[in-house]
């Protein structure tokens, strides 16, 4: 089969755009295949620019996994920046995949990775640039099947009109199952609808057009029911039971241009043992599963050889919690010292152990240390179950100053449930105490420059967290709290950055929205919204206009306190953690009672019940049944 690509047309416009190298592909280790009649063509689509998308581990896993099948050719496609978009439209060039430069409209599948809500308009734009109908119901038999996965799909409803198939949960196993179904269907000569019905029978697959939603007079959901027999009333998330024996790439594409994470990011475990109550990742990625030391060392070694990266970063939600973290780091440091390959940890919690590790890793460089106490007072930290004490934080900071670090970044959230001005004052006080710690260190030990950077983000209530019922505070109140904090910070050594509250408000709308928001999304897109998470592209007035045009009250989604009995738009998804557990956690939050982490005790979140038919290996979960099983297996 011949490629039908736009190479020549693209080459003519590239010299006119800012980052031409991000539109040409051909990177080292990119995969090119011979097309045959049987080739299943899969476009892995990331609704943001190349530099962001190429830093995403999940896309790399799926690229390797899909291409490991002889008859599947997975390629990549990213959102073109505005200069490129304009030229593509002007010259009539449709959105193309980087490897073959073929229009993705000719593919069998386009699979979007949904990492943040504010990338949804980019998804619509990518469909439009591909000349594919935005709405699932308007698509032709010959159009690609549009699928989506990633953390945002735990509430897929705002995108229900646009996506044919959602994959709920980890996709290493379910995607190959879907491909099997596709191969069979292709031979059968049946219709697109038939394929979707077949797909709906696979565990973890959600086909939104096969469900009907009815609403109460007050706008809440009355019922959510399947309309065809193939569609399941409850969609169980998919998860991998044994990370050690699951596909992970041994080779990765090495970008020419500098990406956001321009290093080898290697996933060492999945899930997080801490139950921070604002955090969605902590719940949806349960149970915690580790890879063995040997598997990690061997896999990293292969990857370094094949890519030539000069730094390896141990990725997870909380890397310091890996059972053998110290051994792992010292093994890596030892093995790669001669080759000057650095080791880094992207997410560390606050304790002295971490400082020792950092010291080891950053033998020469003393850049900044980032700590995330999240809230300004112990009371509020107990509410959110962030089990970090001020004392620990100051000890860590003191150790860091003593070791020569001078820049400390502190991350907080404003607008957390039950937050008062006292908690805001607490943020300013912590920042000041951090500065005080610096001056306690003898002059000869400490860095000449000290800077404390306080950043606050705006709390966004997310599905599948104990705070999923909470109303967000409004933007005026966010702004007032930010100004108040600003007025409290007077020390010139403390710098204060804060997040745009309007963006967080919209995020709250779409994070917990239902399928009625589809038309708002489409309207905002038609009005010109793109790259909303880029502050210089974000146009809140257009969004306001879109809600008005669609006669939809955005406050209903973002600000309203939801009732315990309400049917939530995402209730049809079963993540293993029960709604009762989340509700109990909410009640404990209000009382300021903390919960323990999975490594120390079990809070009976429900995940053990959920996984009992698929016993998990190498879990950090301290549940007795699981541990016993684990030991008998080893």
């Amino acid at each position: 089969m011949k490629l039908n690509n736009f190479k020549n047309e693209v080459n003519q416009i590239l010299s006119k755009v800012k980052k031409p190298i991000t539109y040409t592909g051909n990177e080292v280790n990119s995969i090119h295949k011979e097309l045959t009649e049987d080739t299943i063509r899969f476009a892995l689509a990331f609704p943001d620019i190349y530099e962001v998308g190429m830093s995403h581990i999940g896309t790399k896993i799926l690229y390797g996994l899909l291409n490991s099948y002889e008859d599947i050719w997975a390629e990549r496609v990213f959102a073109p920046w505005q200069d490129m978009e304009e030229l593509m439209i002007e010259k009539g060039i449709p959105l193309y995949a980087l490897e073959s430069m073929d229009p993705i409209k000719n593919f069998d599948f386009i699979g979007f990775s949904l990492q943040y809500e504010m990338s949804y308009t980019n998804l619509l734009n990518m469909l439009k640039l591909s000349h594919i109908a935005l709405q699932s119901k308007d698509r032709l038999e010959s159009d690609p099947i549009i699928i989506a996965g990633g953390p945002c799909t735990y509430n897929p409803e705002p995108l229900a009109d646009f996506i044919d198939i959602f994959v709920i949960g980890e996709s290493e196993e379910v995607l190959p199952e879907l491909m099997d179904a596709y191969r069979e269907w292709k031979k059968s000569g049946l219709s697109r609808q038939d394929f979707l019905k077949r797909a709906a029978q696979i565990e973890g697959i959600y086909v939104p057009q096969f469900y009907n939603v009815e609403y109460n007079g007050n706008g809440t959901i009355k019922s959510f029911t399947p309309t065809v027999v193939q569609a399941k009333p409850i969609i169980k998330k998919r998860f991998i039971k044994d990370l050690n024996n699951t596909y992970y790439p041994e080779n990765l594409i090495v970008s020419y241009t500098q990406t956001v994470h321009d290093r080898l990011s290697f996933e060492i475990f999945r899930g997080c043992p801490h139950g921070c109550r604002f955090c969605q990742a902590g719940q949806i990625y349960k149970p915690v599963r580790e890879k063995s030391l040997n598997r990690i060392m061997d896999n990293i070694d292969l990857l370094l050889k094949n890519t030539g990266y000069e730094e390896v970063s141990l990725a997870s939600l909380s890397s310091g919690d890996y059972s053998n973290i110290e051994t792992l780091i010292s093994n890596l440091m030892q093995k790669y010292e001669d080759k000057k390959i650095g080791v880094s940890l992207p997410s560390l919690r606050i304790d002295s152990l971490s400082i020792d590790m950092l010291k080891e890793m950053e033998k020469v460089k003393r850049s900044s240390i980032t700590l995330a106490p999240e809230a300004g007072t112990q009371r509020l930290r107990d509410v959110i179950n962030k089990n970090v004490k001020e004392e620990d934080l100051l000890n860590t900071v003191s150790l860091a100053f003593n070791e020569g670090w001078g820049r400390i970044k502190l991350y907080f959230m404003t607008g957390l449930p039950t937050e008062t001005d006292k908690d805001i004052e607490g943020i300013a006080q912590i920042a000041q105490k951090v500065v005080d710690e610096y001056f306690k260190i003898p002059k000869e030990n400490r860095n000449k420059n000290i800077q404390v950077i306080v950043s606050t983000s705006c709390f966004v209530p997310k599905p599948f967290t104990p705070f999923q019922w909470v109303g967000q505070i409004n933007t005026e109140e966010f702004n007032r709290r930010q100004s108040y904090l600003k007025s409290l910070i007077k020390n010139r050594r403390i710098k204060y950055n804060w997040h745009e509250s309007t963006l967080s408000y919209l995020e709250a709308v779409f994070a917990r929205g239902d399928r009625r928001l589809g038309k708002v999304l489409q309207r905002a897109f038609e009005l010109g919204c793109r790259f909303d998470s880029w502050s210089d592209c974000f146009e809140p007035e257009k969004w306001e206009q879109a809600f008005k045009d669609c006669e939809i009250n955005s406050d209903f989604y973002a600000l309203r306190q939801r009732d315990a009995s309400e049917i939530l738009p995402w209730d049809f998804i079963d993540i293993g953690v029960t709604k009762d557990f989340l509700r109990l956690e909410w009640e404990k939050a209000l009382l300021g009672i903390t919960s323990t982490n999975c490594k120390i005790g079990c809070e009976q979140c429900g995940i053990i019940e959920f996984t009992k038919d698929n016993l998990i290996k190498n879990s950090l979960c301290l549940n007795k049944d699981l541990k016993n099983y684990d030991q008998s297996q080893n």
């Binding site: 080459n11 010299s15 190298i21 051909n26 990177e27 020419y256 890519t307 030539g308």
Partner: protein, 229 residues
């Protein structure tokens, strides 16, 4: 440490590499080849690798040079043929190695030994009725002793500089209707080469050429180095 000089071509596939991209790409290729890379000393050790001259984004070239340092005691440990093969195998399509040689101790750095560089600059949408009189105009341009252009630096400050010493000869050839090929030889000034496109554009400005928006593709045909400089 043994220094190895590599001569290579950069083709269409990689013409949009920036200098930094190219540097990073070579460094990672050396690591993939598992060669004993030499590192600089100091707080932040980095591989010893240096290019003769930055090739602009969008340009292809038949003649690029890079020197790399290898942590070996004597050059007898190197099999040049094998090294050539190994390096080529880890480099992407679009980079073709034409020569690998071992440098004698104390060899001058690449940036100091550039004698001149020849370019082919192709302008499409450049309307020229009579190529001979166009070349006469070009000769008049070349025969000036001083050609001053104004440039704005990063801080927004205006600076006037004389670009005449930065090139030697220019010649225009009409390839087809509205396609003009310029041969231009550039000479380094203070160890760096001016962009040949800048010279062409300055010339077109001087003869008051106001045509369509030009489409320019540039190719470095030769970069000549001379150890005796």
């Amino acid at each position: 440490m043994i220094k190895v000089r590599i001569k290579f071509k950069r083709g269409e596939e990689l013409r949009f590499l920036s200098h930094l991209d190219q540097h990073r790409m070579f460094t990672r290729a050396l690591r993939r080849a598992d060669l004993p890379i030499s590192f600089s000393h100091g707080f932040n050790p980095h591989p010893i690798i240096s290019f003769a001259n930055a090739l602009s984004v969008g340009m292809t070239s038949d003649s690029e040079y890079v020197d790399i340092g290898l942590d070996l005691d004597s050059d007898e440990e190197i099999n040049l043929k094998q090294l050539h093969k190994t390096l080529q195998s880890v480099l992407p399509k679009g980079i073709k190695i034409s020569k690998v040689e071992i440098l004698p101790e104390g060899a001058k750095s690449l940036t100091r030994i550039i004698e001149y560089a020849d370019y082919d600059i192709t302008c499409t949408d450049l309307h020229v009725t009579d190529i001979d009189s166009f070349n006469d105009q070009l000769n008049d341009f070349v025969n000036q002793e001083v050609i001053e252009i104004e440039s704005v630096n990063k801080k927004g400050k205006k600076k006037v500089r004389n670009i005449r010493p930065a090139f030697e000869t220019i010649e225009a050839i009409k390839q087809q209707k509205d396609v003009i090929l310029f041969h231009i030889r550039m000479i380094p000034v203070e160890n760096s080469l001016l962009s040949p496109e800048k010279v062409i554009l300055t010339f077109l400005g001087q003869i008051n050429y106001y045509g369509n928006k030009l489409n320019i593709t540039s190719h470095r045909k030769d970069l000549v180095i001379n150890e005796d400089l």
